[in-house]
């Protein structure tokens, strides 16, 4: 099926996620969609698969106007999407999950469905037991099941969103073989990824998105440098870096391994001194979030030891970490950082060290007014946090931090903010740093990481690089590393 996207526009509030994207995908091809986080890849794919609506633009399928309002419309038109987290039902049996969504009437014919599933498995050399429970499958098998389900529904354009996260190398090979086969048989495959190597290996054609716009297309043979440049834009000159005046170790990690259901970060050794800033680079879901949460005591490492200010806190809970002077700033401000429905004053009252039983309203109001003006928050003491803009919410989060802190851990401290706010926030963080606070932060903005860190750790699929000196690194180099290229130098270094 030939898919044509014409002038697709989509905004989320002030963010223009897709700005007039035009893209044609011929039948029988594997199309790669490349771009960093927030480039607009997922938005575009969700529009095509019907889970969100475009503000403007047209979708043509084989030259005909398609009206795709819901995911079931998309499937009716032959477009199916494999989401990053498989949309299946873990407590159900494989065959029931396979059947769900199939318009087969009140009493589904299970035996026919089992036969269909087995036939499809044979075609693609997958092996999933129909009577097994979905939760017992690996992520890779759940993905295979979802692909087969979509094909059974008659899909002939398959969108895959970062499908290789959390699956084994063998399953990846099987997946790629299956995708090539689908393309040969005339189906269209859209492969969304940030992994350069995989895109180069698999795709017949690549489109690169950046900040909501289509910035370029490429065909094999691909040139990695050129793709990186398209993804991250041109390099900026770095200036104003200051050498860290570092003190005693604030955080020491020895042989720390952390894991969740899809990823394992193994054997990290790191010493962070007070006053030092460490930037964590990597595509979302590469392990940096897991790592940061382990440093905060929110995730217990499976092995290794964590010391804060020289005190061994291995296996202790978050509150023990807090008592040692750490602070954790979550990336999702309204979900984990602030409490919707409470006012700024109430937040500052909550965050202060508890004094007595009764709330001293006047003192708390004064405290709030002081912090609001110190941190340049556009809001009143009585404003609820959800009524503030994103930048002001972020400033409020920073204003809630206690003083002094030994270690400050932040997820995306400046995501979604304008340049002015970013500069302002880093000014505040620099003050903290001069007071001896060590800072570790995650950012998807490589320039921000290069500009404000002393050392950088790059994450890729759970692998962690050696700490890189920020002054000796470039955006290009980081771009390659987070895309999975150029890691062999580390491997060579590791060999004694």
């Amino acid at each position: 099926m030939k898919i044509e996207l014409q002038e697709i526009h989509k905004s989320f509030g002030p963010v223009h996620a897709n700005e007039g994207i035009c893209l044609t995908i011929p039948p029988g091809t594997i199309m790669g969609i490349l771009g960093e986080n927030g480039a607009g890849k997922s938005t575009l794919m969700k529009i095509l698969s019907g889970s969100i609506h475009a503000d403007g633009g047209r979708i043509l399928l084989d030259g005909h106007d398609a009206s795709i309002q819901t995911p079931s419309d998309a499937i009716r038109d032959g477009i199916g999407m494999l989401h990053q987290d498989p949309l299946d039902f873990p407590p159900m049996r494989v065959i029931d999950s396979f059947l769900s969504g199939h318009p087969s009437g009140l009493f589904p014919r299970k035996s026919a469905a089992v036969q269909a599933l087995l036939d499809l498995e044979e075609r693609f050399d997958f092996s999933i037991e129909p009577e097994a429970y979905v939760e017992a499958l690996t992520v890779g098998e759940r993905q295979q099941l979802e692909i087969l389900r979509l094909l059974w529904l008659g899909v002939n354009a398959l969108i895959l969103d970062e499908p290789t996260t959390g699956i084994s190398a063998l399953q990846k090979e099987k997946l790629f073989t299956a995708l090539r086969r689908l393309a040969q048989e005339g189906s269209t495959v859209i492969f969304v990824s940030h992994k350069l190597e995989e895109v180069e290996e698999l795709c017949d054609h690549v489109a690169v998105l950046r900040s909501g716009q289509l910035v370029g297309e490429a065909e094999p043979p691909f040139h990695t440098d050129q793709l990186v440049k398209m993804m991250f834009g041109k390099m900026i000159s770095l200036g104003g870096r200051r050498a860290a005046e570092v003190g005693a170790p604030a955080l020491e990690l020895s042989g720390v391994s952390v894991e969740d259901h899809r990823l394992r970060v193994s054997d990290v050794n790191l010493q962070v001194r007070s006053g030092e800033v460490i930037g964590l680079a990597g595509m979302e879901g590469s392990g940096q979030r897991l790592f940061l949460r382990a440093c905060a005591g929110l995730t217990r490492p499976v092995s290794g030891r964590i010391r804060i200010r020289g005190r061994d806190l291995t296996g202790k809970g978050y509150r023990a970490f807090l008592r040692q002077g750490i602070a954790f700033l979550p990336g999702s401000r309204l979900e984990e950082g602030l409490i919707s429905g409470l006012t700024l004053t109430e937040h500052f009252t909550l965050a202060q060290e508890r004094r007595g039983l009764l709330i001293d309203r006047r003192a708390c109001h004064g405290l709030a007014e002081g912090r609001i003006s110190d941190f340049n928050i556009h809001g009143q003491p009585g404003s609820t946090v959800e009524s503030l803009s994103g930048g002001n919410q972020q400033r409020a989060l920073l204003a809630l931090l206690k003083s002094p802190l030994s270690l400050l851990l932040m997820e995306h401290p400046t995501r979604g903010l304008d340049i002015e706010s970013v500069v302002w926030i880093w000014g505040k963080l620099r003050e903290r740093r001069l007071q001896g606070t060590a800072i570790i932060f995650i950012s998807s903005d490589l320039e921000e990481i290069l500009l404000y860190s002393d050392r950088i750790l790059v994450f890729f699929g759970g692998r962690v690089s050696q700490p890189l000196g920020a002054s000796a690194t470039t955006v290009d180099h980081l771009g390659q590393l987070i895309g999975g290229a150029g890691w062999d130098t580390f491997d060579q270094e590791r060999v004694p």
Binding site: F328, L350, A351, L357, I359
Partner: protein, 347 residues
């Protein structure tokens, strides 16, 4: 909130009351009863005489206590469905304490006081079980509470027909009534006791202060509105949820203690009179704000008492008051949804 939205909010509430009245009227007409006469009976039955008013206040005190307890658990984001069982356990422990000291020489005032405290303790412990099931066992408090309610009912019935049965055979009318010196003193020949009223008013006042003026209350609200963020701010969320259960249980236990010491003077099978569930409705109706709990609880108590007249005069079931209360809550919640829909549309 500016004046415009406040008036709009009030308008939606009034519309909800009106709709509830219309639906109830339709039900009355369908039942073949004269609606106006029914409403008149309810009004006279609740406020028509000193005795009727006193009866309303007799119901109001335990209902208000249950409601104040629920305001605490709602603040912490918890649905304490188990409150009925907590009232029953309060009544059971109060009865147990009274029975223990019934024949002793301790002063009656002290015995009554201790028994009421025992009731508060009983309610708190019953709630603590639900809290522990939630915190350590991962059992949702709604399921835990529902289960514990059944256990509490079974326990009450077993006591009435077993260990605490009347001389001779046990009866659904409850245990043997206590002698009058173990009752809370009454006003004249009314069933009303000043002490019960004072306990209820002090209870709601303390809860108001707790939720609106203390660090504890603010933290509780933080836990209820966003437990994850509260935890990241360093608030021990499970501890606060547990405390919310304990406090609510204690207030529910007090309600049960009043049912025994001030109203029935014995343990009866339906000792909670359904005030726990009614309290849930009151709390929802006042949008979890302590300030309005007292008048709305009074209104509900008046409906309950007033509708006793319906079966006597019109041969209607007295459960009609339940229908009115239920439709009222449903319409207020529905209108709140409609209001929010329109407000967000405008933005």
């Amino acid at each position: 909130m500016n004046d415009g939205t406040r008036w709009a909010g009030l308008g939606f509430r009034l519309a909800a009351v009106l709709l509830a009245l219309i639906v109830t009227t339709i039900i009355l007409v369908l039942a073949g009863a004269p609606p106006l006469e029914a409403y008149r009976l309810i009004l006279v039955g609740s406020l028509g005489s000193m005795r009727n008013l006193a009866n309303v206040l007799v119901a109001w005190a335990p209902l208000l206590l249950a409601t104040s307890g629920l305001l605490i658990t709602f603040s912490a984001g918890l649905w304490n469905i188990g409150i009925e069982g907590q009232i029953a356990l309060g009544a059971i422990l109060t009865t147990g304490a009274l029975r223990t000291f019934e024949t002793s020489t301790v002063s009656p005032a002290l015995v009554i006081g201790l028994s009421i405290l025992a009731g508060a303790l009983g309610g708190a412990l019953w709630a603590a079980l639900i809290g522990a099931l939630k915190t350590f066992g991962g059992v949702n408090e709604i399921f835990g509470g529902l289960g514990m309610n059944f256990v509490a009912t079974a326990l009450t019935i077993w006591l009435i027909f077993g260990p605490w049965k009347r001389p001779g055979t046990g009866s659904m009318s409850g245990t043997e009534p206590f002698p009058q010196h173990l009752w809370l003193p009454q006003i004249g020949d009314l069933r009303l006791s000043w002490h019960a009223l004072v306990v209820a008013v002090v209870g709601i006042a303390l809860v108001y202060l707790l939720l609106n003026g203390t660090h504890f209350g603010l933290r509780l609200k933080a836990v209820g509105k966003n437990a994850r963020a509260a935890f990241l701010m360093g608030i021990p969320t499970s501890g606060y949820m547990m405390l919310a259960f304990l406090l609510c249980g204690a207030l529910a236990g007090l309600a049960g203690a009043l049912q025994v010491t001030a109203v029935y003077h014995r343990l009866i099978p339906a000792i909670s009179s359904g005030y726990g569930f009614l309290g849930l409705m009151v709390a929802m109706l006042v949008n979890y704000q302590a300030l309005w709990a007292a008048p709305v609880a009074f209104f509900f108590a008046a409906l309950n008492i007033g509708s006793i007249q319906l079966p006597l005069v019109l041969k209607l079931d007295s459960l009609l008051s339940g229908v009115m209360q239920g439709t009222l809550v449903l319409f207020v919640l529905a209108m709140e949804g409609v209001r929010q829909h329109f407000m967000t549309r405008k933005h």
